[in-house]
């Protein structure tokens, strides 16, 4: 039985709308509640916080080798430098940590595993002194053979990145292979693959490759730690995950006497996350350093170069795909092997591999399916969450392949997708069933928007115009018990403070949470304040990742608002002897359907209660709390087939189309028009959804057209800067971007909403690759699809 369906099945028969029941705030593009603060430049980010003259600064000693044994560390010279307060090495902190797999070190202890890994830190009174001190630490290394490639890492004689893998603890849904570099191997086996290929009229096999990418948030990572005399550790971090950070800090540093109650994480606004500020990366260093200098705050601020080479990167992927299709255009079989380069530590990245493995069929009904998603250690920097969480990578191969196969069979690639697109109730790769979805509507709307089937000609004879349309889907990747919670408090004037720990990362979470509460309680958004969290005061939220907070945190806020509403109605029923079922909230008043002249203003009672006829007061401060956990989810399944669990809570689907102009000689590409339709269930704030669509597309196109992390043979990143790691500027905008909102309600979402943040970037790579082929007849199978690749391929094809 599908628990989700049971819980969330919409009630049969439409109810007629009664007073106070139509949506007035949800669905409106109300202005962002953090807008003015940010526009004025007044919003505070972590690096803006003032800590007075006692603030200490840390600088790191970093590994110059991709793989080496640390023979000795001499800190004596650095310690003698005037202004240096402390020099810390791996000898001071031997604890391991990790989100899903405990494989990462605070400082390298005896082995370094990537170029740039932290080996020691110097804490000083001034950032310059700290850097000079770091230059005085002498480390002797013995270089070891290293492995830089996920496929080579599987060879028998490959160097092992983690020889002790067997002893590492990890979540129960990971399947590492000790004695190899395989950190996790997600297998999906469904149907009869051999029969599927026998039934196919065309079988095509190919390999697609995707390099690593960097998030390039404008604000670099920063963290300030203070360990005070009361034994508490306070951390100010630029983070998507304050509670997860608190947990990791407390768990990792518990041998210093810290428990969860002693650790406090305060998160300000953050200048872009995109997954890069999820989990814990450099923040653990600041936490550890704070313990070594009790009573003084210590700050660690990443440089742009460190931002590139020592946070999470997006995993590189080599995708081997074999697909069978019938003449009628049905996918009969799919054998998909994904080899992921996850880097030196995979504590977060292995879950990307897991998520992609569960969903690599794409938004299509594939009855005979085999997926092997393999997480491999390499001696490159650690990889982790990045907007899209593995889906962009497999979609590049899958959606390229589908267009190629459709064309080869003489089928219309868009019609092909329409035919195979998944429907509500279809069996998912892991056996559970698909949620309601508007994918067909999305395909249709985009098809019209780009005038699919109408060949266009450039005015410039050197240029050709190509079109493409692809589909996408994505689910939040999270532990089955990832939960959200909210507190809501009324104030004397009827205004509200909402406390949540979902992070405002630019997506507009604070505004959307205010809209949800506003809708339930009839209090205008302007009278609701929602701010970034402090883990001491705000209730728990797992992390702001996976495009799930509008859904998860939104559900918690809605429940908190409903609880407050219940308390209000109970009180009014008790004091005024009105039947609760006749009461409703409107325009900050309690009103009654059976007594039209009854109207009780919130500000008259939400703190001080209602005065009864005997002059006593009833009630008291109105507040509500709400908790949401997806109780139908389960990550446990058969390791050999992936069948049996319900790891994903829901999928958001959509389609995107492009009109691309390509210069045949230079390879230069210009996006004339791009349209993206996404089924967000319910757009609580349509402008914010449109913002996600435009922003996601730009970020996606950046990864296809320009970005590319390049390493030399020694594992050193060659372009940790914006001179040679290009992200688009305003001059590189598409001519026209058309965001399309589809709303097929998610039954368990707040007002029907489901996630939308990551999805908008993941279709970009196959869009470009397919449109390039449509325009100039060449197929690029490795990302990025640069103009250089296109021009040289066109030139080669001419010969």
């Amino acid at each position: 039985m599908d628990l989700q369906k049971l819980i969330t099945k919409p009630k049969k028969g439409a109810k007629s709308i009664r007073a106070g029941e139509e949506l007035t705030v949800v669905g409106q593009s109300v202005p962002r509640i953090d807008g003015w603060e940010k526009i004025k430049g007044a919003a505070k980010y972590t690096d803006d916080l003032e800590f007075g003259p006692g603030l200490l600064y840390a600088a790191l000693v970093e590994s110059p080798f991709a793989h080496a044994r640390i023979k000795s560390i001499d800190i004596s010279k650095a310690e003698k430098l005037h202004g240096v307060v402390k020099v810390v090495t791996g000898g001071n902190f031997t604890q391991k940590f990790g989100l899903y797999m405990n494989d990462r070190y605070v400082f390298a202890t005896d082995t370094v595993r990537f170029v740039g890994e932290q080996v020691a830190a110097v804490v000083a009174t001034d950032p310059k002194i700290a850097l000079r001190g770091a230059g005085l630490v002498k480390v002797e290394y013995e270089e070891l053979p290293a492995v830089m490639d996920a496929v080579k890492a599987l060879e028998k004689d490959s160097p092992l990145v983690h020889p002790d893998l067997k002893s590492y603890t990890h979540v129960p849904w990971f399947f590492p292979k000790p004695g190899t570099n395989i950190a996790h191997w997600r297998k999906i086996r469904k149907g009869d693959l051999a029969k599927g290929f026998r039934d196919a009229d065309l079988v095509m096999e190919d390999t697609y490759s995707v390099p690593r990418y960097a998030h390039c948030a404008i604000e670099p990572h920063s963290a300030i730690g203070l360990y005070d005399a009361s034994g508490r550790l306070t951390m100010w971090t630029s983070s998507q995950s304050p509670f997860t950070q608190r947990h990791v800090f407390a768990e990792t540093l518990k041998s210093f006497g810290l428990s969860h109650k002693d650790v406090r994480v305060i998160s300000t606004y953050i200048g872009g996350g995109f997954g890069g500020k999820a989990g814990v990366t450099m923040e653990i260093i600041a936490a550890a350093l704070a313990l070594t200098v009790p009573g003084r705050p210590v700050k660690l601020l990443w440089s742009r170069a460190q931002e590139f080479y020592n946070t999470y990167q997006r995993l590189g992927c080599t995708a081997k795909i074999k697909m069978g299709v019938s003449k009628a255009g049905k996918i009969t079989a799919l054998d998909f092997k994904l080899h992921w380069d996850a880097g030196a530590y995979v504590e977060y990245g292995a879950n990307v591999v897991n998520a992609a493995g569960l969903s690599a069929s794409g938004p299509y009904k594939v009855d005979n399916l085999s997926i092997d998603s393999m997480c491999t250690y390499t001696n490159l920097p650690p990889c982790g969450a990045y907007r899209g969480f593995g889906y962009s990578e497999f979609l590049f191969g899958l959606e390229s392949h589908i267009t190629r196969m459709a064309r080869e069979l003489g089928l219309d690639p868009v019609e092909f997708r329409m035919k195979n697109a998944i429907k509500e109730g279809d069996t998912l790769p892991y056996g559970a069933h698909m949620n309601p979805t508007g994918i067909r509507d999305a395909i249709e709307r985009v098809r019209k928007e780009i005038r699919w089937g109408v060949k266009e000609k450039s005015k410039d004879p050197k240029k050709a115009i190509g079109k493409a349309q692809v589909c996408f889907w994505k689910s939040p990747a999270m532990p089955p018990n990832a939960s959200s919670s909210a507190f809501l408090k009324f104030n004397e004037d009827g205004s509200i403070n909402i406390l949540v720990s979902g992070m405002e990362i630019g997506q507009g979470l604070l505004t959307v949470m205010a809209q949800i509460a506003s809708e339930v309680l009839s209090v205008p958004v302007s009278k609701i304040r929602v701010e970034t969290p402090d883990t001491d005061r705000n209730p728990y939220e797992w992390q702001t990742v996976g495009s799930h907070v509008t859904w998860g945190c939104g559900n918690a806020v809605k429940r908190a608002a409903l609880e407050a509403r219940e308390r209000i109605l109970d009180l009014v029923q008790r004091v005024h002897c009105l039947d609760k079922s006749a009461l409703y909230l409107e325009d900050q008043h309690v009103k009654c359907r059976t007594k039209p002249d009854f109207a009780l203003r919130f500000s008259d009672f939400v703190i001080n209660g209602i005065q009864a006829e005997d002059h006593t007061f009833k009630g008291g401060p109105i507040m509500g709390s709400g908790v949401f956990m997806p109780e139908f989810a389960s990550a446990i399944s058969d390791p050999e087939t992936g069948q049996g669990g319900h790891p994903n809570v829901h999928y958001t689907t959509g389609s995107a189309g492009i009109i691309l102009e390509v210069d045949r000689e230079t390879g230069k590409m210009k996006i004339k028009k791009v349209a993206l339709a996404v089924d967000c269930g319910k757009a609580i704030n349509p402008d914010l959804v449109r913002g996600q669509i435009v922003g996601g597309l730009l970020q996606g196109f950046a990864t296809v057209l320009y970005e590319d992390m390049r390493y030399n043979e020694k594992g050193r990143l060659l372009n940790p800067n914006f001179s040679d790691y290009k992200i688009p500027t305003v001059m590189d905008m598409p001519d026209q971007v058309v965001p399309i909102i589809i709303e097929v309600a998610q039954p368990d979402g707040p007002f029907g909403a489901r996630g939308v943040g990551e999805h908008t970037m993941i279709p970009c790579a196959p869009l470009i690759a397919n449109a390039v082929e449509d325009a100039v007849g060449v197929r690029i199978k490795s990302m990025p699809v640069t103009k250089e690749k296109v021009a040289l391929a066109v030139k080669a094809a001419k010969k």
Partner: protein, 297 residues
Amino acid sequence: MPITTEFEYIKPKDMDEALHVFSVYKEKARVLAGGTDLVVHLKENLARPEVVVDIKALPELAGFTLRDGTLRLGALVTFSDLIASPLIKSKFPLLWEASLTVASVGVRNRATVAGNICSAVPSADSAPVLAVYEAEVLTRSLKGERRIPIADWFTGPKKTALLPEEIVTSIELKLPEKKHAGCYMKLSRYEGEDLAQGGIAVLAFADNTYRLATCALGPKPARCPGTEAVLSGARLGEKLLSKAKETILGEVSPISDIRSSKEYRLHMTQIMLGRALGSAVARLFGKGAKYGTENIC
């Protein structure tokens, strides 16, 4: 990111003081004008001077003038100064066009033309333009003045004919007397700020003669005399162009690096040559794209 290296900062009030400092410190002194290269190099410890000499207070280095057909660019003239000047736009539109392709607005507001040729990276956008205008670089030391033709200025990647005790005071360009038009075609990874992966400057004259120079297609920016000779005297047509495209391949020697492969650079050398010539000739007849447009490949 803080600068950790220590140095003396000097801001001379007159030229004599500045030249004295350079005569004493030589290679250990570095000029600070725009600072867009120097400050980055200081942060990355690539430059470790003992003295940084800020020349921004020296009045004789400021501004630019056009007198008797000679444009004199003081060493402190920035790319934004040139872009903002109607004089440059009307009389030296090719210099104006190339200036627009240098980095970003913020960098152009500080970066100087003299600094661009002193840094002497192979990709310097101003270099091919100065080459086709046959500019001269004026330098000074306590020993006196020198006048160095731009053709002799670049001696290798990041190397110039400037002596350690000298500073550049100005750059002079002669306005060609014959009717002419130009084009600077730049190969870039995108529309935003980028270092040229290749650049070709063309000056086309009404008598069917041409001056061509490249950047980022060899160890140093350079003229292409062989290609100029092929083109000289005849009307530009398909046949002539294809001969020129063959010839220019012998005059460039691009490398493969993180920004581009040798193969693509060679391919684009030919494409850019054709487009730059086409654009310059069209402009000569009052047609073609406006300066500052359609010149990023």
